[in-house]
Amino acid sequence: MDKANRTWMRLDNMANLFPAIERFSAAPIYRVQAELDRKVESQILKEALDMCLKRFPYFKVRLKKGLFWAYLESNRKPAVVWPDGPYPCAGMDYRANNHYLFRLRCRENAVALEALHALTDGGGSMVFLKTLVAQYLRLCGEKIEPDKGLGVWDIDEEPDEEEFADSFLKYYNKDIKSLGIKSPAYHFRGTRHRQDVASVICGQMSGRQVAETARNYGLSVTEYLVAVYVRALLNVQGRTKNRRPVRVSVPVNLRNFFPSKSMRNFTNFILCEADPRLGSYRFEDIAAQVHHTMRRGLIKNNLIKSFSGNVNSEKNFLVRALPLGLKTVILSLIYHFKGENQYSGSLSNLGVVKLPPDMERFVESFSCYLAPNTVNPTNCGAVCYKDKLVVSFTRTVRESHIEREFFSFLVKQGVKVKVKSGS
């Protein structure tokens, strides 16, 4: 934060929500992971991290509480590199982590960045991870040129003022009021693991094969994966009474639609729905519904509409005047009824990850994981690198019915899937 002599900065519009809803057992954490061609040395990684944090001062922060809102304050303590454990996206022990809002973990040949959503979103985390891995490889003696277009930034460059900005404030429309509450969605219920534990099942498949299968239905890869996820949830719910609509929350990187250099959160969600009370669905029906919902949601004006309500609520005088303690209680209730209660699961597709040619040969794969929340015990992350599409399910329950429905349907569709448990 030296750029503008900042010692603190406000949380962005979306981040304001996350400190309120954070529980140790279900923290809103996002994990992006890169697997290298060599064993990762934690000492060198720590050195690379310290160098990178100078370029990304908005990540060298700690969360503090003000009278009305929480805020981010510059963190003078050194960042820590942790050995990776068996469970990704576990709750963060801030004191042990020197109050950083991200946790860098390494294991054998894997480097994983787990960041609290209050800090940044998947897009920001991926840029930081790529730059960090590039710096690590440089310290290992490799020659890698930065390429900002591919997300490997020059760490000697001064941070841009726009990287600190909350882009929601730049593009919101002040005339749009908060959106209404939808009826509660279906939530998978299972036997919970003990607290702070999320187990993982990853499926690896060919990105090209999935894209071809998706094209047969006239879908993009994200739409296809969402449709398969909706179908899996419908089938799992089919075994229960009192059926409810199945909704999958699909995060959209708004940087692709609105020019923004912000490294803070700049994401919104589209809810894709299928209501089993209306009758049974063929996969083609789900695919058409998901396709049209996504196309409609991705229209620029609809995107503005989806986040403007939240920004206007934040700017409301009464909301601003509430003390933080009271605000936390109200925000957690709002998040329950307007957030997690309205969808059955999330599917975050980071898309195709590309690296500069001189770095590509050192990195073998990428994967991403979303922490499950208290209401929805299963979430899904997907990322494609070098034609290897990795779809990772994290869950806080023992039963893996959703994953089974998801992957076995892909197999029936002719996609070759290789499954492994654990990150």
Partner: protein, 346 residues
């Protein structure tokens, strides 16, 4: 290795399928066992009874019960008294009941709930007027009619007038409330109490709503000036109704000006000096100190007291001056300002 139930390939280390827990099998057996697993599609659950069917059954039962009650009443009245007299009252109650129980249910899909409720309230008002007419028109039913009309307007306007801004709706409702109070006052023989209430509404509207209608850059200054005028008018009205106009210029107006003029000056100075929020608050505290001293001075002059100032105003003014000094120091000190900025998120 492949899972024979799910059909997925398993990573080398997996002894069991992580999806279903089945032991890993040789790939040659996959095709045969997978075909056995297929074809077990679940049957969709039977559709539940529709809402329309339940509605129709309810309407038929209510209709039958009310019709039978009416029939019995008419037969009894005719057979005992040879004509329809006392039965007209229970019959009109049953007719109202018929309307209120059947209309909202039967037409719930066609009309907005507000219209349905308003129709029921309207029917109840008409029923009361009918009773009033039958018992020799004592005009009490008109009060019920006004109240019902205002209640319906207050509920339906925010829900139906989607194009209207909230501030316009509040303004319309405030105006209607004033008219409603005037109408009530006239109904019970004009005593003048509705003037207080109406002026109170105007005063509250000036305080709360007027700034929303004004140009943002000068809204505070203009609304303070209008508030001062509204307070003065309200005080004059109260004193006039009570026959004490002479106290207006000697006591009420100086007190009102003592409170409002420092606030107007604060607005003007902070705008000209481009103070931050701490500077504005500092000036406001200073204004409050001056206002408390002036108010005390005018009260004592009016009461012809020996001392010009009392203890309460001195304590209030000194507290306000202390706060003003602290806030002014904050305005000038970059370090304190930054600390407070981040804690207060300014």
């Amino acid at each position: 290795m492949y899972c024979v139930r799910c059909g997925v390939e398993l990573a080398e280390k997996e002894g069991f399928c992580p999806l279903c827990g089945t032991k890993a099998y040789d790939p040659d057996e996959v095709a045969k066992l997978l075909s056995e697993c297929e074809g077990k599609e679940r049957q969709p659950a039977p559709e539940r009874a529709t809402v329309r069917y339940i509605k129709n059954r309810y309407v038929a039962i209510v209709r039958f019960c009310i019709f039978m009650s009416m029939l019995i009443l008419v037969i009894v009245n005719l057979s005992v008294n040879g004509g329809l007299n006392w039965s007209l009252y229970p019959l009109s109650v049953l007719a109202l009941l018929w309307f209120c129980m059947i209309f909202p249910v039967k037409y719930s899909h066609r009309f907005h709930p507000v219209i349905l409720v308003s129709a029921c309230v309207g029917a109840a008002s008409l029923f009361l007027i009918a009773i009033d007419l039958l018992t020799g028109f004592g005009r009490w039913s008109l009060i019920a009619l006004y109240s019902a009309a205002y209640a319906c307007l207050a509920v339906s306007l925010p829900l139906l007038a989607k194009k209207l801004n909230a501030k316009h709706i509040i303004t319309i409702l405030a105006a209607c409330a004033g008219l409603y109070l005037f109408a009530l006052d006239f109904e019970v023989g004009f005593k003048g109490w509705s003037l207080y209430a109406a002026c109170g509404i105007v005063l509250l509207w000036c305080f709360a709503m007027l700034p929303l209608y004004l140009n943002k850059s000068y809204s505070a200054l203009i609304s303070f000036i209008v508030d001062t005028l509204a307070i003065a008018l309200f005080l004059y009205l109260v004193l006039m109704v009570n026959g004490a106009e002479d106290k207006f210029f000697s006591l009420a107006l100086p007190i009102a000006l003592s409170a409002c003029l420092p606030a107007i000056l604060t607005c003007g100075v902070s705008k000209a000096a481009r103070f931050s929020v701490y500077g504005i608050l500092s000036l406001s505290s200073l204004s409050a100190a001056i206002a408390s001293l002036l108010i005390n001075l005018f009260i004592n002059l009016n009461l012809k007291a020996q001392a010009f100032l009392n203890q309460w105003s001195i304590i209030t003014a000194s507290c306000c001056l202390f706060v003003a000094a602290f806030l002014f120091a904050t305005e000038k000190s970059k370090k304190i300002k930054e600390y407070l900025n981040k804690k207060l998120n300014i």
